[in-house]
Symmetry: C2
Subunit: 617 residues, 2 copies
Amino acid sequence: MSGFYGVPKDLSVLQKQRVEYSPELPPSLRAEKIGIEYSDTTTSADSLSYSLLTQYLPHTYGQPLVHFVENAAADSGDCTTKEHPVVKVGFVFCGRQTPGGHNVVWGLYDALKKNNAKNSLIGFIGGSEGLFAQKTLEITEDVLATYKNQGGYDLLGRTKDQIKTTHQLNEALVSCQALELDGLVIAGGANSNNDAAQLAELFAASKCKTKVVGVPITLHGDLKNQFVEADVGFDTICKVNSQLVSNICTDALSAEKYYYFIRAIGRKASHVSLECALQCHPNMVILGEEVASSKQTLFDITNQIADVVQARAQKDKNHGVIIMPEGLVESIPEMSALLNEIHSQLKRGVPADDVASQLSPWASALFEFMPPFIKKQLLLAPESDGSAQLSQIELEKLLAQMVETEIEKRKKEGNYKGKKFSAICHFFGYQARGSLPSKFDCDYAYALGHVTNHIISAGLNGYMATISNLKNSISKWRCGAAPITAMMSVNQFAQDPSTKTVGKLAIFPATVDLKGKTYEMYKKNCTSYVMDDIYRNPGPIQYEGPGSEEKTFTLCTGEEDYMGKIKDLQDHLHKVQNIVKPGCSQDVLNVALSSMASVTKILTIISSPSHSDHSYL
Amino acid sequence: MSGFYGVPKDLSVLQKQRVEYSPELPPSLRAEKIGIEYSDTTTSADSLSYSLLTQYLPHTYGQPLVHFVENAAADSGDCTTKEHPVVKVGFVFCGRQTPGGHNVVWGLYDALKKNNAKNSLIGFIGGSEGLFAQKTLEITEDVLATYKNQGGYDLLGRTKDQIKTTHQLNEALVSCQALELDGLVIAGGANSNNDAAQLAELFAASKCKTKVVGVPITLHGDLKNQFVEADVGFDTICKVNSQLVSNICTDALSAEKYYYFIRAIGRKASHVSLECALQCHPNMVILGEEVASSKQTLFDITNQIADVVQARAQKDKNHGVIIMPEGLVESIPEMSALLNEIHSQLKRGVPADDVASQLSPWASALFEFMPPFIKKQLLLAPESDGSAQLSQIELEKLLAQMVETEIEKRKKEGNYKGKKFSAICHFFGYQARGSLPSKFDCDYAYALGHVTNHIISAGLNGYMATISNLKNSISKWRCGAAPITAMMSVNQFAQDPSTKTVGKLAIFPATVDLKGKTYEMYKKNCTSYVMDDIYRNPGPIQYEGPGSEEKTFTLCTGEEDYMGKIKDLQDHLHKVQNIVKPGCSQDVLNVALSSMASVTKILTIISSPSHSDHSYL
C-alpha cells in the first residue's frame, strides 16, 4: 500500500511554478545562531483545570513558554552553534486534509538537514494507523520534489480517527521506541493536539526519549487561543470559499431569481462563514454563535430569513445569498437537544429505525415535523468526538424548505407580494480542502516545520509550535513554542444547576468571540449587506501581483501577538533586574521599588477573581 | 428598477487591479487605418437548408464573409479614415450570465467613442424584456468604471427567455425604431444568436436601419463552428470547474474513502467535462457524446462505473472521482425517450401528478424504477427551448445510488471484496458563472466588442463578430464577421425511418466531436486516469505570472483558423489574378492554366457528395 504514497505527481504549469517557490523564513529561523529563551512557566485557566492537569498530566504540565530568537543572548540556550547529534523524527497527519500540510513536512525536513545531514525524517502512512503499525515512508528530497507548496495530504495519507484507547497510546509508544525516534510531530486541529498531549505525557512517564510536538493545522480555524493566532489552512479555505460565495453573489445579482443557501465548512464554529461574510458581503450570515447565545429556534431563524426575503421583495429584489456554518444544527437549542437524545439512544444500541419511537414526547414531535431527508441524516451515528456527522446534515435545505413554506403562508395572508421564492442550496464542504495552499499558508506552514525541528532539538516535549505577530510581514513574525497543557481546560456541564458534571480535560475548539473585533467589524457592516447587494469578489487565490499578499480579516482583526508581548514583558523584567543590581544608587533602588510596588498592586487587583467577575456585571 | 443597474461596486484588492487592466488588442483593431475585406459569399451546408434559408431569411442569406485588416489595401473598404457619422447602438445580454460579458460592452463602448465622441451606447435592462419595454441604461465611462474585467451580467441584468413570438419580434422592431438605433448587439449562445438572425431578417425586411450583430458568449462552449473557434466565458468556466474538480481529486486521494460524482455545467454537450478531464485527470468521465453514440443505457453506465470501482478496490483504492456533463440524462437513450414522453404529456396539459399514469408501459416501468427525488425532477416542465430542466435533474445522485446497489450486489455474490462504497455528489452549476473572467476571456471579449462596432460601422446586418487564430498570441488574432445564416442548418428527425420530419432552421449547439483532436487527446490518456490517480491541479485562475496565459486544451487542439485560411485562399486567388493579367507571357498563362485546372479537378472530386459519403465507409 505504501507504493501509493510520495509518488511523483503530474504537475500543471501553476503547480510547477509553486514547486519552485521558496517560502521566506522569519529572521529568527534564518539566523546563523538561533537562540532559545525560556519565559515563565505556564499556568492554567482555573483551579479545577489546575487540579486535573497536575493529576493527569503531571510530567508535561507547568512547562515554560519558549521563544526562538536570532542572535542568541548570553544567558539563553543556543540551538545552532553546539554540535547537533543525529536525530530521527516521525511525522503524522491527523484529521482532515488541510492546505499547507505538505509544507510543514518540507520545513521540518529542511531544518533537520540543515542541523545535520545525517538527520532523518520518516512519515507515517495513513496517519495514526501508520503510527500504530509502523508503516513508514522516508522523506527525501526526491519524495518531496512534487509536493512542495501543494495541497492535500496525499504525500502520506491521514488519520481517519482520534487516538482513543490506552491500547492505541501504547502501540504509539512501542512504535516510537522501536523506531528510536527522537521526535514525533503531530499535525492537526484541537483533537489531534489533545492526542499529542496524551502521547507526550505517556512518553515522559515511560522515559521514552521521543519528544512529541504538535502543529496547529485545521480547516476550521478553531484551534485558537492566546498562543495560537491562526491555523495552517484557514487562510486558503477562506479564500476558496470566499471565491465561490462571491461568484454566487454575482450570479444571484445577474440572474435575479434565486436565493442561494450556502453551508460553509467549519463544523460548529462559524469562523469560515464569518470570514466569507467579511470578504463577500452576502445578504445574510447565520452565525452559530449568535444563534446559540440568543437561543434562536429553527422557527426564529426561518422567520428572520423570511423577513429579509419579504423586505427585499418590497424593493423588487427577488434574489439573495445566505451563508451558514456546517454545524449550525448543533447551535440551535432544540436541534442540539434532539441530536443528544438520538445519540444517546444510538449509543445504547437502539437500531436507527427504532430511535424515533424511543424519543421523549417533545423530541418525538420535533423529529416527526422534519422532512424525510433530514430525519435520515439526524439518525446517522455520531463521529468519534461525539458530535453529529455535521457535513451530512443538510440544514441549508431544511431552512430553504421552511422559508419557502413560510413565504407561501405569508403570500396567502397577503403579506408577501414578491415573485415566487426559489432557493438553490450548496454545501461547500469538499471543494476547498484539496486546494493549492495560499502564499500565506505556504509560508506559515513551512516556518512552523522549522520551528518543530528547533523544539525537538531543544529537547522539549508536549509543546505546540507557534508563530505570532502573523498579521505583520514575515520579517516581524516571532517563533516560539507553548506547552499544549497551557491550552487545556475542563468543561463543566450544568444540565441541572444543582449538579455540575466535570467533563474531559482538553483543548476546546474556539468559537467566534461575540465580543471580539472580527465580529464587531461584521456587526458594523452587516445591516447594509441585507438590502444593498454590495457584493464584493476577492477573486481566486493569486500567487503573484495584487491580492497575493492578502490575509484574512479574522487574522488582521485578531488580538496582537500575545506570545510576543509575554516575551517583551520578560525583557522589561530582565532590564529592571540588570539596572537595579546591588551597588546601584539609593535613588535608583527607591524609584524601582515604588514603581514596581505600584505595578504589582494594580495587577493584583485587576487579576483577582472578584475583579474579573465584576467586569461582567 | 433601473436604479439597481450599473451602480458602482465595492471592489476587493484583486478586483481593483482587474479594473485597471487594459486588454491588449489584436493588430487589426489597434491600427490607425482599419480596412474591411469581403470574402466570397457564404453558402449553406446542404440543399434542404438552402431552400429553407432562401425562403425564410432571404434578406440576410448569402452575404459574404468579412475580414477586418490593418493597413487597408487599395481595393478594400476602410472603416476608419472616412468621416464617421454619429451612431447609436443598443446592447442586450441574453441567456445565462457568463464571465466576460461586461468586456464586450466595454470594448464596444471604447470603439464607438474612438470613432466619434458623439456616438452613444445604451444597454437594455433585464435582457430582451428591456428591449421590448425600452428599459435602457446609457453606458458611460462612469457606469463602466467598476465593471471592467469583472464577472456577471449585473451591469444590465439578462434575458430570462428566448424571443419566441412574432409579437416579441415586433416589439423589438418598434423599440429599435423608436430609439433610432443604428445597431443592436445581442450577446449570447446558439439560441440567442438564432434570435439575432430572426431580428436581422425582420429589420431588413422592414427597412429598419438597425443592424443586428451577434456575439458568441456562452458558458457551455457549444456555439462552435468553422467561423467561431471559442465562446467568451468558456475559458473561465473550465478553469474554475477544473480548479474545483482537481481540489476534489486531491481530497479523494488524501481521504481515501470517497467516490466523488461530479456533474459539471454544459447542458447536453460535454465540452466543459472533457476540458476538466484533460486539466485534472479524474478517474472517469462519462461523456454524453460517447453514451449517445454507443447507445449506452443507465445500466451500462452503472456497470461501467462499478467495474472501475471493483478494479480499483482490488488495488486497495477505495476512492475516485467521476465527472459527467449537466445534461447527460438527455444522452442516455431510454432516459431521453422517457423525458420525451413526459414532456409531451405535460405539453398536452396533463398535470405533473397524473403524468406517470399516462406513460406507455415501458416508460412507466422505467419511471417507477426511479427513486422519488428523480421522479420529481423528471416531471419538471421543460425549458423554453424544449430541453429538460437539466440543471435540476440530479443524475449524479441517481448513478451514485445505482452504483452503490450494484456494488452491494457484487459483494453478496462474492465478486467485490473492497471497503464500503461511499459516494459524495456535487453539481457544479452555479459556482463559476459569476467568476472574475480569466485574462483570455477579458481580452477576447473586449476585442469582440471592438469588432461589433466595426460591423455596425460597415453597415452589416445579421452578422456574428468573430476572432480566429485564438490559440496563438493576441498579435496573431484575426478579426472578422460571418453571416449568422451561414451557421444555420435544419435538423431532420427520423423517428420512423420512412418519414422524415423537417425541424427548425437554427444554429445548433455543437457537441464534442468524437473524431476531433480534443477527444483524441483524451482517449490517448484516459486509460491511465482510471487506475493511476495521476491527478493534476491547474490551480485557481491567475492574473499575473505563470499560468496566467494558459488556454484551454479544447481551444489549443481545435482546428486551425478557418476564417484566416479562407482569407489566405482569397489572397492567393487575387495574386494569381494579378500575376496573370492580359499581357503576361504565354508561358505564365500556360502554367497558371494547367495548375489551376488540376486544382479545380481535385477540388471538384473531393467536394462531391459521393466522395464525402465514401470517406465514412
